[in-house]
Amino acid sequence: MMRLFLLALGLMLIGVWLSIVFNNYVQFGGLKINWLLVFMLILTFRHSNLLLAFLGMLAGLIMDSLSHGIIGLYGTSFFLTLLLIIQVSKLFYANTFLAVSLAVFSMSIFEGWISLSMIDMLEPGVELSTNLLNSTLPVAFLQGLMTPIILQFVIWGEKLFLRDLA
């Protein structure tokens, strides 16, 4: 448990670095990958531990601080998404690249929909469907494409930290 906590924390720090540095210089089609979300989604799919949902909430709060400033918005959407994954992960065989990619794609859309709906709730007038089509969907697709590479990295991390589980 402690090792998983440390691994998740380490991946979160890498995710923060990628979000504030890498994303500023490398964007695919002008889209920024939500690294923190992808790391937490993959980890949760592989381990289904409630601890990861709470760490995901912390990751969401960090994302809030680094973007719009409404603290708790991404915190809630990340937490809800990861809780859902814990419930549905048993339905997936989360050890193939394709399965994890599809899962990350669908869960990214779910997270985007939740967060945009909450923004719409707080500040009416936000074009929900336009944002979903122009931003959430392409990013989810991109995140799904990037998942095999990130998954390899996560597996490497697991081999280092969680030898007995990997």
């Binding site: 939500n34 909430m57 708790g72 909450m118 074009e127």
Partner: protein, 278 residues
């Protein structure tokens, strides 16, 4: 009761977390100040962002110095020709400006406002795709405060959204949550500037308003956040549906938001300070 709670403690924990998150969200959304958590995160990430930005700009400057030497002769000829044209135009403008300054001094006499500008560099941007936010390397230590206006010489950029000791986040006018009260400079017709994924739109323009392609759009000063007269952009396209009450104008923004590297934060004058009290 305790047995019930201990049986469902996990469910209670999850519900309590959701309630906590909603309260936090509601509090930070309604509260005008920057949250302590955000301030801590931004302070911790600032050294990393600033150092990477500094290294990247050094390399970029070196590269552009090299690029700028290419075709410098052709550019020189072109600039000489432009200079001659400009001198002719300048003579006309000097005459106009003398008259303008005399009249403006008369107008400013009644309400003299001294504004101070804080120079800032863009060191990063929003970590997500849904918001047009830029991070600048000036914060509360340099007296930047929430809702201060950010601009460039080309025009309006946005407003300060949150402040930490060393950096601040700027909500650009292209952000989908941004609204700027504006008017058409030529005939003073009012509208509201919305940020969209495609750029800027001026909405709620009267259906019968006389609006033309190329019209300059400036801030109207209504709402108290943005001062009057800041250039926002030019009308590029006009959309009008018969069933709608208002027209919509698509704008070419005065500021190229993909290219900005430096901005000015406007410190309001004492006479304006009531607008910024939090």
């Amino acid at each position: 009761m305790f047995k019930f709670i201990s049986t469902f403690r996990l469910q209670f924990l999850i519900i309590a977390t959701f309630i906590g998150l909603f309260m936090l969200m509601s509090e930070t959304h309604t509260n005008e100040g920057t949250s302590r958590f955000q301030s801590v995160v931004q302070t911790l990430t600032y050294p990393l962002q600033a150092s990477v930005n500094s290294v990247a700009s050094t390399f970029k400057n070196l590269w552009y110095s090299y690029i700028s030497l290419i075709d410098v002769n052709e550019e020189n000829k072109l600039l000489r020709q432009q200079l001659l044209d400009m001198e002719e135009k300048m003579n006309q403008h000097i005459e106009n400006s003398v008259q303008f300054l005399r009249l403006r001094n008369q107008l400013l006499f009644a309400s003299k406002k001294i504004t101070e500008k804080i120079f800032a560099e863009i060191i990063g941007e929003s970590a997500d795709n849904n918001h047009d936010i830029s991070l600048i390397n000036r914060g509360s230590n340099q007296l930047v405060q929430r809702n201060y206006v950010v601009l460039r010489k080309e025009g309006l950029v946005g407003r300060i959204q949150s402040v930490s000791p060393f950096q601040s986040s700027v909500q650009l006018i292209t952000d989908h949550r941004s609204r700027v009260s504006a008017l058409i400079q030529r005939n003073r017709i009012r509208g509201l500037i919305y940020g969209t994924h495609e750029g800027l739109e001026m909405r709620q323009i009267n259906q019968h308003a006389n609006i033309k392609i190329g019209d300059r759009i400036i801030s109207s000063g209504l709402g108290g956040l943005y001062p009057k007269g800041l250039l926002i952009g030019w009308v590029k396209e006009i959309r009008r549906q018969k069933h709608e009450l208002f027209k919509t104008a698509i704008l070419d923004s005065a500021v190229d938001f993909n290219q900005i590297e430096e901005v000015f934060v406007i410190v309001p004058s004492i006479t304006d300070s009531h607008l910024f009290i939090e």
